[in-house]
């Protein structure tokens, strides 16, 4: 059953990404199929996660592959908050291929299997919060990429700018900032739980990276509020932040 759910999830997420790509090229007739692909995939993945939780002894996503599975679910959940609105649907163009790829990687690493040996609930809360934070940063980066795309269309006087209506630049900028703030709060809570409840020992690479990411995003928000860095420059900061996450987290957290 787990295999069936995994592939249903991947196919549905992939279908959504394809529909969004088509919408970007002006094919709007089937745009509703995109959001339904997201919903179907999300439901299938939710069933998979519930089945994993029920069959595991403790927290079933403690491995790197399991964490990717949970991360992709959190990512799509975060996207669904905005993606149901027609104007924000195209944020999915950045989110859904990533989510599908994460599920495939999780499957390859055995993170979608049932009956795995679980870890303690302190780790569950810590990992869940950290992953939710990373998912928020990814959604924020998706919004930032949409901002850059839309700004470029406006600057270059793209004639189709009013045919494919995206959210306004201001709305994208504001929502990216709020999503980043939410991600930072989740990451902070995850770090506090990790330091307080887990036997962490000394400062290791994983902790250093988590602190580095926290500082990077906190700085991004600080320069936004204090120095008035908004719009394109803030979007680039968020995209840079995601590059940092993608570059260092796999090395320090998933290398084993």
């Amino acid at each position: 059953m787990a295999e069936l759910l995994v592939w249903l999830t991947v196919i549905a997420y992939g279908e959504a990404a394809l529909v969004y790509a088509g919408e970007l090229r002006g094919h709007r007739r089937y745009s509703m199929l995109g959001i339904w692909g997201v919903r179907v995939g999300w439901l299938a993945q939710t069933v998979l996660l519930v089945a994993q939780a029920r069959s595991a002894d403790g927290f079933p996503w403690g491995t790197w592959a399991g964490a990717l599975n949970l991360l992709s679910w959190l990512l799509v959940t975060g996207y669904l908050v905005w993606g149901c609105r027609p104007r924000y649907r195209l944020v999915g163009l950045a989110v859904m291929p990533v989510a599908a790829a994460l599920v495939v990687l999780a499957w390859m690493g055995g993170g979608t299997a049932l009956g795995s040996r679980g870890d303690g609930w302190a780790l569950a809360i810590h990992a869940g919060l950290m992953l939710a934070g990373l998912a928020s940063f990814t959604v924020a980066a998706a919004m930032a990429s949409l901002y850059v795309f839309e700004e470029r269309r406006l600057k270059r006087h793209d004639a189709t700018v009013l045919r494919l209506r995206l959210p306004s630049l201001e709305a994208l900028d504001r929502l990216a900032a709020r999503t980043t703030l939410a991600g930072l709060l989740l990451l902070s809570a995850g770090i506090i739980v990790g330091l307080g409840w887990l036997d962490v020992g000394g400062l290791d690479a994983a902790m250093t990276v988590a602190a580095l990411i926290w500082v990077a995003y906190a700085l991004a928000l600080a320069v936004r509020w204090e120095a008035g860095i908004r719009g394109r420059r803030f979007a680039r900061l968020l995209l840079g932040g995601l590059v940092l996450v993608v570059a260092v987290v796999p090395l320090t957290h998933f290398a084993a």
Binding site: K155, R165, G228
Partner: protein, 417 residues
């Protein structure tokens, strides 16, 4: 009962011709009433009159098409012969299809313009419709609503002022309270400013070389007027600038203006340059947060959105065809309704006669039971033939089926009357 339409529209009639037959809402209501009650073949009438068309929709007996045509010529008054080649006359399904297309905005000068649906509704409410025109107009309004909801035909702006306002909404999260500065006091900037204001923007300042002109326009917007040389102040706080002066060179440009825009530190500013030759130095468009649109850029946006409207119009045509098919099916079903009614009356007559024969031979309680039982039997027996007749009505065999039923059950046209 026949449906007829006589009218003129922008397709074939010049503005001069359209002016001759244009009527306001009150006159349209009065004309509808007089057409429906004049004692001629017409029993129902609705007059649709907009700046692009005047159409008389009339329903009644044979001869109603000619009646509608005469009414249109009379409306034009002296010089009516000039109207005749420009006028069109349609009947029955063709007239209904035309109305559906009009309501969907497919017959408009700008395909998909939204105002016409409200105008059709107003005409319907002010007119004198009966069963046929009432149903036809309700179906037309439904076709118009579907075209707007199920397609994007009315979403995109079709004029430069509307495109400028729509672009502002792509930059800002709503225009309520946004500060607009007008540079130049021409008609185009006035139209654009009114479009922006209708979406909630505030016209904060008007700058012009001739201060009196600026003051006049500023007064109409409750804004302040400023000399064009003192634009830096309003520019530093504005969200949108609309410029359309007749100056030979750049009005907005140079290091002073560029430094004002850079000092905004990326805070968005939309500059709409409607002037030819241009008022705004194109180099300003490269500054972070500054979005500069000149006339060419706006026209390409409008052209692309009109292309989009034409694509969506194909989808809207499909919707109109579906509604026209529903109308045709409804009209066809009317042809078998008398036969169905007659059949049911015939069966009910037999049932009542047989019950009367039992009068006094059954106890009171048993009589009620027999009454209910026979009514149920009649209903169940006639249910399927009724359904089949209605189904056949929408095909070419509808009238044949009705004749067969009349023949088999010995029904006559007089019974139906």
């Amino acid at each position: 009962m026949r449906l007829a339409l006589a009218g003129v529209s922008h397709h074939r009639a010049s503005l001069e011709v359209r002016e001759r037959v244009a009527v306001d809402r009150e006159a349209a209501a009065e004309l509808s009433r007089s057409l429906a009650t004049s004692g001629g073949p017409a029993h129902e009438a609705v007059v649709l009159s907009t700046c692009n068309r005047t159409e008389l929709y009339v329903a009644g007996d044979d001869g109603v098409v000619e009646h509608a045509d005469r009414a249109l010529l009379e409306l034009a008054g002296p010089g009516a012969p000039a109207l005749s080649p420009a006028a069109y006359r349609l009947a029955d399904e063709s007239a209904a299809l035309h109305l559906f297309r009009v309501a969907a905005g497919l017959d408009s000068m700008v395909p998909g313009e939204g105002e016409i649906l409200g105008q059709v509704r107003d005409a319907f409410e002010a007119g004198s419709p009966g069963p046929l025109l009432g149903r036809t107009f309700r179906m037309a309004l439904r076709a118009g609503r579907r075209a707007r909801v199920e397609t994007a035909i009315g979403e995109s702006p079709a004029s430069i002022p509307a495109a400028a306002a729509a672009l502002a909404e792509q930059v800002f999260d709503g225009l309520a309270g946004r500060s607009v500065v007008l540079v130049g006091a021409g008609r185009t900037s006035d139209l654009t400013a009114r479009n922006l204001r209708s979406r909630g923007a505030l016209i904060s300042a008007v700058a012009n070389r001739t201060l009196e002109h600026a003051e006049r326009l500023a007064a109409s917007f409750d804004a302040r007027s400023v000399p064009i040389e003192e634009l830096e102040g309003p520019l530093s706080v504005a969200d949108i600038v609309v410029s359309s002066t007749s100056a030979p060179g750049f009005v907005l440009g140079g290091d002073a203006v560029a430094s004002v825009l850079r000092a905004r530190r990326g805070r968005p500013l939309l500059i709409v340059d409607l002037a030819v030759p241009r008022d705004v130095d194109p180099a300003l468009g490269a500054i972070d947060g500054c979005f500069l649109y000149d006339v060419d850029a706006l026209e390409s946006v409008v052209s692309a959105t009109l292309d989009g409207r034409r694509t969506e119009a194909l989808h809207a045509e499909r919707i109109v065809s579906e509604e026209a098919e529903r109308f045709r099916a409804w009209r066809a079903s009317l042809a078998v309704v008398p036969a169905i009614a007659s059949l049911r009356a015939h069966a009910e007559g037999i049932r009542a006669a047989e019950l009367a024969r039992l009068e006094g031979r059954l106890p009171e309680g048993d009589r009620d039971v027999v009454d209910t039982l026979t009514a149920q039997i009649v209903n169940k027996l006639l249910h399927l033939p009724t359904v089949r007749l209605k189904e056949a009505a929408v095909t070419a065999d509808g009238l044949l089926y009705a004749d067969v039923v009349r023949h088999l059950f010995g029904l006559s046209e007089e019974d139906e009357a």
